[in-house]
């Protein structure tokens, strides 16, 4: 009897090892099906039906490719996304390089301010940019006064590229920096001993080793810009795919299936882009077994070099923080109309904003915090399953999760209403769709791709042999993951949490469909309330500044905590 029980407990132990990943995979799949696939499918099946007869058809897709307008939109979206990656790289590369290569006090500045552009609340970013760089914005008013000409910074696709790359370059900065920090110093030292220095060292050793982070960031920027709706809409650029989809889905009365057709095409293109970026990494091993030295060795700078670095950093920060500077001016200005600076300054707007802000702030921190936590957990699990197990179809979890990036917020919002409105919350009897938790899930689903890319980039740099070593020493799988893999991935996890949290805090398009009562509304929604009227612009901007500061601080502290834990861990590891 005793022997039997031992056998059975063995068996169950053995089962747990192989069943664990499968259960996790099924759980994740269930989440994705319930909160992404089903709601979206319920909305976009229209794309596959004939509007006249209601039968299944692909005619709508033929219409898409036959239409000159849609082909042009397709091209424009592609062009804007590609150019945004290029420009975002121009912003991010020097900043990432300087922080990771040199002992430079400005590095703190970069790390602190580098992710701030991600926290750009809806509506006001574009308003602020127009006030500064628009056809009649501060810069052009000065140019017209002094030199009699103006520059079209914000016209058409150029404006979209500029605003997008400013907004999303932190994806590259954060992921690339995380990657650079993860490179083992010994790799660099070996190269130096073998006689490689300077640019050659950077090109042949550092850059390739940092590639997972760069690709993760760049592909996020590409897909995000390709699918982004807010910026083109606010700059009134209509000839791109996402605005075309949105304009057709949300006009009153008309039910043209083309909006949903475009959504399907956006989703397919995003999955394709992710597949390309993942394939580009395939067959290359970026992991290093030693994790001794926290990143590349840093060099001290001469006085002239320091000045040069500061110049580059400050110039770049001035560009990427321009929307926030505009926002700040807007929030403390009285009337700002066709002038270089506001007519006067006041603190009144803050008094109005603070009065209403607290419930919004509380909701935002709660929602974005939980959503980002869910994202990091799911992101790590998906990344681990995709990279370290042999489950069939494991990569598809990754692709499906990434597809969330391409789902317009409106589509997800309508899908949630459709799917969850008829479901009641136990005990209260209120519809599930009106529960604030559903907003959290919507945010988590929409921001999962950010965390996922960071997590899988981080995992790619951890060598499986470290896990094998741990397992050889008798540690069970879960413990290996917890004690070995997760600590080594910490930088990537923080990057994932930061991007998910900061962007979830300013999400509006799905939220606005799901907010059922003002007491449950997050900050972005509060901003929306203000930004609908002339008198509300100042207080709206003030609320925007409050949002940026609070989300910024929260993100900073989260990062700080994890960094501290990491340092302590590596210090204790070093003392052994």
């Amino acid at each position: 009897m005793a022997a039997l029980s031992t056998v059975s407990s063995r068996a169950s132990f053995g089962q747990r090892i192989s069943w664990g990943p499968l259960t996790a995979a099924l759980g994740i799949l269930l989440f994705l099906v319930a909160f992404l696939i089903l709601p979206v499918a319920m909305v976009i099946y229209v794309a596959f039906t004939d509007p006249g007869s209601g039968q299944l058809t692909l005619a709508n897709f033929m219409d898409f490719f036959r239409s000159a307008l849609f082909r042009e939109s397709f091209y424009n979206s592609f062009y804007v996304a590609a150019m945004s990656v290029v420009l975002a790289t121009v912003f991010a590369l020097p900043l990432a390089y300087i922080t990771s290569r040199f002992n430079f006090r400005g590095a703190v500045l970069i790390q602190t301010l580098g992710f701030v552009p991600l926290i750009m609340p809806p509506f006001i970013g574009a308003v602020a940019m127009q006030l500064l760089f628009g056809a009649n914005g501060s810069v052009n008013l000065l140019l017209r006064d002094w030199f009699g000409f103006t520059l079209p910074f914000m016209e058409g696709l150029n404006g979209v590229i500029l605003v997008q790359s400013i907004h999303y370059f932190p994806f590259i900065l954060i992921n690339l920096s995380a990657s650079l920090r993860n490179i083992d110093r010994s790799m660099e030292e070996s190269a130096q001993m073998l006689g490689s220095h300077g640019m050659r060292l950077f090109r042949r050793i550092v850059l390739p080793l940092a590639m997972p982070g760069y690709i993760a960031g760049a592909s996020l920027v590409f897909v995000k810009v390709f699918d982004d709706l807010g910026t083109p809409l606010l700059l009134n650029v209509n000839n791109m795919l996402a605005p075309q989809a949105y304009l057709r889905i949300s006009s009153v009365g008309i039910s043209d299936p083309m909006g949903y057709v475009i959504s399907v095409i956006l989703i397919v293109c995003s999955i394709f882009a992710m597949w390309v970026s993942i394939s580009a990494m395939r067959g290359k091993d970026y992991s290093t077994t030693q994790k001794g030295g926290g990143g590349l060795s840093k060099r001290d700078l001469g006085a002239l070099e320091t000045a040069g670095c500061y110049l580059v950093v400050l110039a770049l920060l001035a560009i990427v923080l321009a929307p926030h500077i505009g926002l700040l001016l807007l929030s403390i200005g009285t009337v700002w109309s066709f002038s270089v600076l506001p007519d006067g300054f006041t603190t009144e707007h803050y008094a109005v904003a603070v009065n209403k802000a607290w419930p919004f702030i509380k909701n935002t921190l709660l929602y974005a915090g939980i959503a980002a936590l869910i994202d990091v957990l799911l992101g790590t699990a998906i990344a681990y399953l995709a990279a370290r197990t042999t489950l069939i179809g494991r990569k598809w979890l990754d692709y499906i999760a990434m597809a969330a990036l391409a789902v317009p917020g409106v589509v997800l919002g309508i899908g949630y209403l459709r799917l969850f409105y008829s479901v009641d919350i136990p005990f209260t009897g209120a519809p599930l769709a009106t529960w604030w938790g559903i907003i959290v899930i919507a945010l988590a689903t929409r921001r999962l791709p950010y965390a996922l890319r960071s997590c899988s980039a981080a995992l790619q740099q951890v060598s499986p042999s470290l896990e094998e070593a741990s397992e050889n020493l008798g540690a069970p799988k879960l413990r290996t993951v917890r004690r070995i893999v997760l600590p080594l991935m910490a930088a990537g996890l923080v990057a994932g949490f930061v991007t998910s949290f900061a962007t979830a805090a300013v999400e509006l398009s799905a939220t606005i469909m799901l907010v059922a009562q003002e007491s449950d509304a997050p900050l972005a929604y509060g901003l929306y309330l203000f930004m609908q009227s002339a008198a509300g612009r100042g207080p709206g901007a003030a609320l925007g500044v409050i949002t940026v500061v609070i989300v910024g601080l929260a993100t900073y502290f989260a990062q700080h905590l994890v960094e501290k834990a990491r340092r302590e861990q590596s210090a204790s590891a070093g003392s052994h």
């Binding site: 006249g52 209601g54 307008l69 009285t334 109309s337 409105y421 609908q532 002339a534």
Partner: protein, 447 residues
């Protein structure tokens, strides 16, 4: 809950007992309003209504008009909203058509039935007008001065060469109020001439904004100087201190902004009270709040209006030469949206190029130019003015069917798909605009 509210609720319950069985439950302490109005408007009414009805908490759910309509549609099976409160009568027509509003005739008496020939309330009683809106031109005075532009007083002024690149307008498919403006021009000027005028305004525009508020916002910041807006945007911006002004052109109409009680409202009794409150002397007076600035439907409310505030019931500050025909509007509602987007929103760059080329050619040729050059310009103008469908087709229900996938039964079939039709239009429109540029350039060199 205070005894006053209980008494009031009990009284109301007795009053409406015959209408609804839910009235006892409706003596509740909540009221949920779905609205497109900004916090500036809703805050004022929320606190005033709560003060007038102690114990009742007003919950405001703010959504754009179109997402508000979608929200009510999607949530009808388990409705939590009591009131729908927005400007565009079209949205209320859509809700009424889908059975999402219930009839309610306010107990407030002594209000006019009509403004001009337009009924202020829904003749069937499903929604009630509480304020009036006219459409006009708003401009930034600093901008106009800097670019040395006269304030435009009529729609036709906005088509002139000197305003090229200085105008802003929204799209009727995005903004219910812009739809009303476009429809007013089409009714006032006639289909062909109206579209021609609209296209020249579109071509002169710096941008076509995605939402109604984008236009006043652009004028306020000075992104562009002149905007086609609904009146209260102009008035409230001015009273907020922006250097802007507003004028009603002769071709304008006064259309009510509305409120309606939602079907199966959980707090139907409070919803009715809210409608009554909006129409009461107090509720009408609040419309004159500097941040709101809407025209009350009660003529007596104008007694306390600030100076310069127009009164549509006396004098002729608002000529309102068009008496808006909402049946005519409904007949080609979707067609107008689709036409505007095809000809102007999606081809704004091409249209602006054509309009610019013709402006330049006209300046070069002038009054004394050769007949050949003038003929070329005329031809170019005709190409810009070309509209894919005439009024008769636009009003044809068979044609209108391509814009809706809602089929009444499985056997219903409509011919053609919107995308197919729009692609045909688009090809011709792009070709026309390109040809217009060529002709205008020829005219310049032929002179």
């Amino acid at each position: 809950m205070s005894s006053f509210a209980l008494k009031a609720a009990a009284g109301a319950a007795a009053l409406f007992a015959s209408v609804s069985m839910t009235t006892l439950a409706a003596a509740s302490d909540k009221l949920t309003i779905v609205t497109s109005y900004p916090a500036d408007v809703t805050d004022v009414y929320k606190s005033a209504f709560e003060q007038a009805n102690p114990g009742v908490t007003v919950e405001v759910v703010n959504k754009s008009t179109s997402s508000g309509v979608k929200f009510l549609k999607e949530t009808a099976s388990n409705n939590s909203a009591d009131i729908f409160w927005a400007s565009a009568p079209d949205a209320f027509e859509v809700l009424k058509g889908d059975g999402l509003l219930v009839k309610y005739t306010s107990s407030v008496e002594g209000l006019p039935e009509k403004i001009g020939a337009y009924p202020i309330n829904d003749p069937d009683g499903f929604y009630t007008g509480f304020a009036l809106s006219g459409y006009g031109i708003m401009w930034n005075t600093r901008y106009a001065q800097s670019y040395d532009l006269e304030p435009a007083k009529q729609w036709s002024d906005l088509t002139k060469a000197q305003y090229f690149g200085h105008v802003g307008i929204s799209s009727p498919s995005r903004s219910g109020t812009t739809h009303l403006t476009i429809e007013t021009i089409l009714q006032g000027e006639g289909w062909e001439k109206g579209w021609e005028q609209i296209k020249w305004i579109g071509g002169n525009s710096y941008t076509i904004t995605e939402r109604s508020f984008g236009v006043p916002d652009g004028v306020n910041t000075g992104s562009f100087g002149f905007g086609v807006v609904i009146d209260f945007f102009g008035f409230s911006s001015r009273s907020s201190g922006f250097p802007v002004d507003f004028v009603y052109p002769d071709v304008t109409a006064l259309v009510p902004a509305n409120v309606g009680v939602v079907t199966n409202a959980p707090n139907e009794d409070n919803a009715r009270k809210f409608v009554d409150f909006l129409l009461s002397a107090k509720g009408q007076e609040l419309l004159l709040d500097p941040k709101i600035m809407r025209l009350p439907v009660n003529p007596e409310a104008y007694a306390n209006a600030p100076e310069g505030f127009p009164n549509p019931f006396v004098g002729d500050t608002i000529k309102a030469s068009v008496s808006f025909d909402s049946d005519a509007s409904k007949a080609h509602y979707n067609a107008v949206n689709a036409l505007f987007d095809s000809m102007i929103t999606y081809r704004h760059k091409e249209l602006a190029a054509a309009v610019k080329a013709i402006h330049e050619a006209e300046a070069a040729v002038g009054e004394g130019g050769s007949q050949a050059a003038k003929d070329l310009i005329k031809e170019a103008r005709a190409l810009v003015a070309w509209t894919p469908v005439d009024l008769e087709t636009a009003n044809d229900p068979a044609f209108g069917a391509i814009f809706t996938t809602k089929r009444k039964s499985e056997d219903d079939k409509s011919s053609g798909r919107q995308a197919e039709v729009e692609q045909e239009w688009d090809a011709r429109i792009v070709e026309n605009y390109a040809k217009a540029v060529d002709l205008a350039e020829k005219a310049k060199s032929a002179n």
